[in-house]
Structure formats: structure tokens, C-alpha cells
């Protein structure tokens, strides 16, 4: 036990010091600086991004602690941007030789580049999370013991619980962004996630429920006061409800969405379509709709990177731009797109601090942070009462969108029928499909019960996964297509 934490402490001493990336024998700060100055001098933008990430995963599955695993990933990515061209080269070998090779590679793609490097980038002291190391500050032994306790507790809830899977995922990401002229930006980003999934079986029927929590703070913030029991209770409640579910109807109907996690509808229906790259390229259905009405009155949507300790929050984005609260849609009118530096420059606006990447192995793209619909005046009760035939969707497994046609889907993991203004039976996992630009015009009521999701979302785009958050109040949508089997 002692050894584990001792070694980890050594790591943190060795790696948490700013710019220690560039103090090693293979590559020093001055050499790196002169290499990137020479390479990026004729580019419009670009940087050297350095990253050192530790991550752990500890899992209990089928009553056994599955081999704990620990990962250490260190590397750099060098990017040159000219006009609308991006050249990128990355390696996990942080050495002079390797960086020289990358510089050559960038130059060969951007040959004849005649740019004017844009130095302007704001510095910030904003901090939305502490520089803690969640992996280090809870011992492996305690984590294993707690997983065993979670497993026992979840199994003891009811005889119908047949399987329990629970895991702890922790990450400590240390980044540095070095720009020509020696500008240096740094950030240390903790991230944890705790998941419990429960399989129940009754009369030959199997159903599952999954719940998780997480964010940019230590595990204990989510586990203290037996809070972990609530995670199990919620997973069990969902699985148990699904045991009684009946086939879902098919066809167009009214849909009431619960608060919190169902906001992945916002993320899919309009979020992706408002990312700068798709609009600069005019492949998003929203590209010519700024200033136009794209949603019902009362619908206001923001993308906020500044909420304390949230999964989608960042002090600075992965280009060094301070994050902010960006208004996307205000009272139904489209106001802004989410931008990284390149797309902002090409669209003659400024970066909104949405330039993100999964790791040093990935290029920057405009990505969402915490995407939230703000409160309106209605109550969930009113919404349900107003529906003769429809569904009440409480939780979703995930969603997807086709930016160009605007069509999006998501899969319900917990939903109920609404009959004559009352909540009825649970419904088997149905798919909901809608059209991005029109669906928000179909919003009939916006609730006053805004909730953020529990902190478990990962958004995928072009093969890159980044942690994001969503939030919304309850919402009533006039017309969506539900994909069930019952006509």
C-alpha cells in the first residue's frame, strides 16, 4: 500500500511542475521554442501541445474485482494552421529528433504558406476546479473495498438482481500549450466517474438499469455520507421499472422530457449543428440561420465551460483560450456558433473557447462543453396533464445526429406512456427520431425545474471523445416520431 502512494507521489513531484515537459534531456524549452518559432513563423496559427495523462480504471464485475489497470500517456502534438489548412503531427516521443521530424512534416504540408501569425490570446486566472490528483488521493485499497461494498449493497436490494457491474474511472491530465514567441498556457484537469449497472431478472425477463456520477473533483465528493448508495438505488429503480415495461408505440406523438440528462436532445438536435466547423463549411442546416428564429419563444440555450467542477468545464480550452458562457439561442433566436480559433478567424469572429481535442493524438475541433437549456415557467405536472396520448422520457442511453439533414435519434432507457394526462406503464426501449431545426420550434412548454446531468456524458465527433455536460428543465414537445413496435 505504502509503495503505491509513494510512487504516485514521486510522479506528481516529477511531472506537476510547469514546463517540466521541456526540461528533460531529450528536449529543452529553448530548443522547442526555436523549432516551433521557425516552423510556425509563416503560419496563421498553431502551437505545440504537450500532455501527460494518468488514468485508472477499477472494475467489479460478476462478483470479482477485475484486474485494476493504470495508464500513463505522454506525448506532444504540433499543429500549423494556414488559411483553412491544418497540418498536424504527434508522437509520444518528446525529443528533439522527433519534434524536428514533426516540424518537417508540418512544413511539407503547408509549403508556400504565407500567413501572419496571430498572437492574440487572452490570459486568465479563472479556476473552476482544483489541481488535485483523484487517483492519488484515494488509495487503491479503499477503492477496491468500496467497490466490494457497492456490489454487496446492490445485490442485497432484491432477489431479482442477477448481475452488478461497478467501476471507478479516474484521470489526471496535465497540459501545456507553447506558442511562438514563448507564450505558455497550462492546465491541470482532474476527472472522475463512478458507474453502477444492474441486471435484474424476473419471470424469464431481463432488464438493466445504469446510473453514474462524476465531475472534476475527487471521488470522495461523490461517495461521502453513503451517497454511493443513491447511485445503486437509482440504477436498481430503473432496471426494476423496466421489468414491467410493455412494447412501445410507433408513430408521431407528444413527448415530455424529464429534466437533466434528457438534454442530450439539445446536444444532438441543435448542439452539433451549431459547432463552427460545420457552419464555416456550410454543411450544417443552421449555417445561414443566425439572427433567425430556430426555436419556440422561451427557449434559451447556452454552452457554458465555466460551471464549477462540472465534467464539461475547462479553465482554458485546448488552444489556450479562456472558456466562457456562450449564448447559442436566446428566446428562440439563433445568436452564436461555438468556435475554435481557426473557424472563428475564417468566419471573422472570435473564439468562444470551444477548441477541444481528446488528447495530444487528436486535432482541435469546435466541441461542446456544458450545453444547457435555461428555465421557463411551466411545471412538469402541467405538461403531463396536457397530453392525451404521448410518452414521458426520463432517461436515454445515447443519441446521434446527421448534421447535414438535421435528423437526430436517441434511445430511451426509461420511458412511460402518457394516457389522458396521466403517467401509465413503463415502455420498452424505444428510439425517438426528430429533425433538429424544426424540433425546437415544436417546444410547447419549458419547465422551471432545470437540472444538470449527473456528470457521465462523453461526446463523440470524428472519432474523438471528450467529456461534456448537459442540462435542461422538463420540456413538452408537440410532435416527435417514436420508434416502437406497437401500431
Amino acid at each position: 500500500m505504502l509503495n503505491w502512494s509513494l510512487i504516485l507521489k514521486n510522479f506528481s513531484i516529477k511531472f506537476n511542475i510547469v514546463s517540466n515537459f521541456l526540461k528533460n534531456k531529450n528536449l529543452n524549452y529553448d530548443k522547442a521554442k526555436s523549432l516551433i518559432n521557425n516552423t510556425l513563423v509563416d503560419c496563421d496559427d498553431g502551437e505545440l501541445y504537450l500532455e501527460d495523462t494518468k488514468s485508472e480504471s477499477i472494475l467489479i464485475d460478476d462478483n470479482k474485482i477485475k484486474s485494476s489497470s493504470f495508464k500513463r500517456d505522454t506525448g506532444y502534438g504540433l499543429r500549423g494552421v494556414t488559411e483553412d489548412k491544418v497540418a498536424y503531427s504527434h508522437s509520444n516521443d518528446i525529443s528533439e529528433k522527433s519534434l524536428e521530424m514533426s516540424c518537417e512534416n508540418i512544413k511539407s504540408t503547408l509549403k508556400n504558406s504565407n500567413g501572419k501569425y496571430n498572437h492574440s490570446i487572452n490570459k486568465t486566472n479563472q479556476k473552476f476546479y482544483d489541481e488535485l490528483d483523484p487517483i492519488e488521493n484515494k488509495s487503491l485499497k479503499t477503492k477496491i473495498e468500496l467497490l466490494k461494498e457497492i456490489n454487496q449493497y446492490a445485490r442485497s436490494k432484491d432477489g431479482c438482481v442477477k448481475q452488478v457491474t461497478a467501476n471507478f474511472l479516474g484521470e489526471h491530465k496535465n497540459i501545456e500549450i507553447l506558442r511562438p514567441g514563448g507564450e505558455l498556457f497550462t492546465d491541470i484537469r482532474p476527472l472522475v466517474r463512478i458507474n453502477v449497472s444492474i441486471l435484474v431478472e424476473k419471470n424469464g425477463r431481463k432488464e438493466t438499469g445504469m446510473y453514474g456520477v462524476g465531475g472534476r473533483q475527487s471521488y470522495d465528493n461523490y461517495l461521502k455520507n453513503d451517497d454511493w448508495k443513491k447511485i445503486c438505488d437509482e440504477a436498481f429503480r430503473m432496471a426494476y421499472a423496466n421489468l414491467e415495461s410493455k412494447p412501445s408505440p410507433a408513430g408521431e406523438m407528444k413527448v415530455v422530457l424529464g429534466p437533466g440528462w434528457p438534454a442530450i436532445l439539445i446536444h444532438e438536435a441543435v448542439g452539433h449543428g451549431l459547432e463552427g466547423d460545420f457552419n464555416r463549411k456550410k454543411t450544417s442546416v443552421f449555417h445561414d440561420l443566425v439572427g433567425k428564429k430556430v426555436a419556440s419563444d422561451g427557449v434559451t440555450i447556452i454552452d457554458d465551460g465555466t460551471i464549477d467542477k462540472r465534467r464539461g468545464s475547462l479553465n482554458i480550452d485546448d488552444e489556450g483560450t479562456p472558456t466562457e458562457k456562450t449564448v447559442l439561442i436566446e428566446n428562440g433566436i439563433l445568436k452564436n456558433f461555438m468556435q475554435d480559433r481557426m473557424n472563428a478567424r475564417l468566419m471573422k469572429t472570435k473564439s468562444t473557447g470551444n477548441g477541444r481535442r481528446e488528447s495530444y493524438k487528436h486535432v482541435i475541433m469546435p466541441r461542446m462543453r456544458n450545453t444547457i437549456m435555461l428555465n421557463g415557467n411551466n411545471t412538469q405536472e402541467e405538461m403531463i396533464k396536457s397530453v392525451d396520448r404521448g410518452i414521458f422520457a426520463v432517461s436515454f442511453g445515447g443519441g446521434q445526429v446527421d448534421i447535414t439533414s438535421g435528423k437526430f435519434v436517441f434511445n430511451c432507457t426509461e420511458a412511460y406512456e402518457i394516457v389522458n394526462g396521466k403517467i401509465g406503464s413503463p415502455l420498452k426501449g424505444a428510439t425517438l427520431i426528430g429533425d433538429g431545426p424544426s424540433s425546437l420550434k415544436e417546444v410547447l412548454m419549458v419547465g422551471n425545474d432545470m437540472k444538470l446531468d449527473p456528470g457521465i456524458g462523453t461526446c463523440g465527433k470524428a472519432g474523438q471523445g471528450v467529456p461534456v455536460g448537459v442540462g435542461q428543465p422538463s420540456m413538452l414537445i408537440d410532435n416527435m416520431t417514436v420508434g416502437g413496435t406497437q401500431l
Partner: protein, 445 residues
Amino acid sequence: MALNFKMLKEDEHLKKLAENFSTNLKKSGASESSVLISNSISESVNIRNKKLDGSTRSDSLNVVLTAYVGKKKSSISSSNLDESHINELIKKCVETTKITPEDELNSLPDSELYFKGVKNLDLYDETFIENSKKIDFIKEAEEEAFKKKEIVNTNGSGFSQNKSNFILANSNGFIDGYKSSNFSAYCEVVAKSNGSMERDYEFSSKRFFKDLLEPKKIGDKASELAIKKLKPRKIKSKKMRVVFDKRIAKNFLSSFASAITSGTIAKGTTFLKNKLNAQIFNNKINIIDKPNIIKGSGSRYFDIEGTYTNKLNLVENGVLKNYLVDTYNGKKINMKSNGRASGTTNLYFGNGDEDYKNLINSDKEILYINETFGRGANIITGDYSVGASGFMVENGEFIYPVSEITIAGDLNDIFNKMVLGNDLQFNYSTNSPTMLVDELTVGGK
């Protein structure tokens, strides 16, 4: 360390590293161990509207160390292979293992199952394509696509070249690895007409550069597909005969494969538990997983544990004959590993009897699906529900495009009713002929 940046690290170099790490794991107190070192170099270019959009070069070297102390096991992976760093990690890995609870099923695979054969599947193409040549290739595809007036934009098209090498070593004496390569090209275009905007793509991926689909064909196919989708309609909810295009039909194989993986069987988290030797498809259906196809996209000699991967007839005349088994989960269900710790290889439905033309020619209305999205199948319950788009077909003719609909059903029922065409091609690692299912619930207006 001598590093040649243009090239993959050679087997001998990786073997030497792996042997060093294995020795150190033993010295540090591991009773058994395995070491996986992988190296890959990939280069890709992207273009948009026939102009260069960007290039990416990636060079990675990674090690996964797994230590056993008796029946305890844990692993650490790192992209930093500096000797002092690795030695620190090795110590830490063994210490971590010691405090991880025992699991009596933890072990290295049986020695008699290790791969010992000849590596003759042609999985590596030395060809090195310069970036300028990559750009020319994919530009030709977009130029072809833009010949059609409805094509107004592209979502981007790209070409990538990936080369990788790995060595797996374990304390039972297994040490082996091999190089593989992959060249791929895609073209995704946007068609526009009277306010309707649709995208579609074509894609080719091969072990050898010279086997790639010609760029003109890629561009032509992508544009044809996108244009056909313009001005879609939404149809009424009803039960309908559905024909799945090959690129969608293969998804049923992926769901089937996850439902018969030993891990899900052992935990009971699959609707196909206890179905070995039972009729789960109609008797015309055969499913094969064949690892030894020359130049095959999914071909391999052994899995991530070093276990020899043989050909499996997973389904014969509708009867489930095999699960996909790895060492650990195999022990749970009393089966030997069949080399599927890394999943399936070249997985396919054997050809059916019907010509494509017969499948879509009927006096009944047919919904032809060539795109689905959303999660799809729930392998625990067997429920199937996806968002979809495609075409209405009458008397063998495509009448109009359809979108913003859902299709839903039950996998048991779909497996039982599916009819396969005789147009199987090996374009991907998982392949299906065209498939007809009569009927599924379509959710629309």
C-alpha cells in the same frame, strides 16, 4: 535507442524490449507476466471541395505490462518507454497486483493453444504513399463527385495509410508478433436541391494499396447515393417488408457477435444464453468467422493473448454451433479459448439463394434501408429499434427517398425470418449479402 522515424520499429527491436521488460517483471516479483508492445505510424490527408484541408501524422509506441502474483493480476500501460520510467512502472505494477484480490480464474492461456504456424496471409504492404500522392488520389474522387450538378459541397474526403507492428511476450515462453497495414479512402459529399440538403459517402479500406477501389468509383458512388436521398418524405407508421442494404445488414452480425461473446454468456447478459446447439436462425442461415483470408481486413494469426485463431462455423443451417471464447471467460463456462479475445475476424453470412433483383421485386410495398442510426439492438433483451432512412420500392423500382422514420422489431424474430441475397462481397471485416425481413414496424407519421 536508434530510431528511424519514417519506418516502423522492427520485430527484433520490439522483441528485445519485450524480453527486457519480462525479465524485470520477474525480478520484481511477478510469478507470471505478459508484455504487449505496439508501434504504429499513420499518415492521413483530408481535402474539402477539391482543396487540401489538412494532414495528420501520428507515431505511437505503447506498452501494456500485465503482472500476475499467484492468482492476482493487474496491468499498466504507458506510452513512455524510457528505461527508468518503465522500471518504475514495473515495480508499481507488481505492487498493485499484490493488493488486488485473488481470482482463481486468472491465468495465462494454455501453452498448447499458442500460435505456432506460418505467417503467410499477406497482411502487410510495404508501399509508402507520399502525401502528395494521397492528395491526388482523393482529389480524383471528389472531382468525379462534383461532375454531378447537385453536388454543391463536401463534408470532407480523406486518404489514410496505417502501418503497425506489435510483439506479445509472456512468461510461458510465447513471443511473437507481426506487421500489418491498412490503406483507406473515403469521400463524403453534400447534395442540394430546392432547399433539401443530404449527405452520403463511399469508403474503401484494404490491406494493400493496389486493392483499393478506384478513386473515380468512390466519388461516383458517394455522389449517386447523396443525390438519390434528396427530397425525402416521411411515410405513415405501419408494418412493412424491409430490405436492408449490405452496408446495414452487416450490423446484425455485429449484434449477433456481441451476444455470443463468452463474457456476456458467462454473465448472462445476452438474449442468446443457453442457446448453443439450438436453432436461432431459420435453417438457410450460415455464419462463418474466418481468420485466414489472404489480405483479409479482419485476418489474423492469433489473438491478443497469443492463442491461435481458427476458422469457426458459428451458425450452421440456423443452429448456433460456437461461442466466441477467450481464456478467462472460457474457464467460467468450461470452454477452451478459440482465439477470440480480440473479437471476431472476417465475419460473414454465407450467401443466400435469392438474386438481389428478386429480393426487391415484389407486388408488396418494400422499404429499402441504406442508413440507420442510433444504438439499434439491445443484446440483453433482443429488442431492436433504430432511426433510419432509405427508399420506397415498388415492383423492383426505387420510387422516392424516405427519412425521419424508425424501424423496430425483435432480434429473435428477425433472425428467424431473414432471407439473404447471393451478393456477398468481402469489402469490410464484417460482411453480409442484401437482407430481406418480412415484416418490421415502421414508425413515421
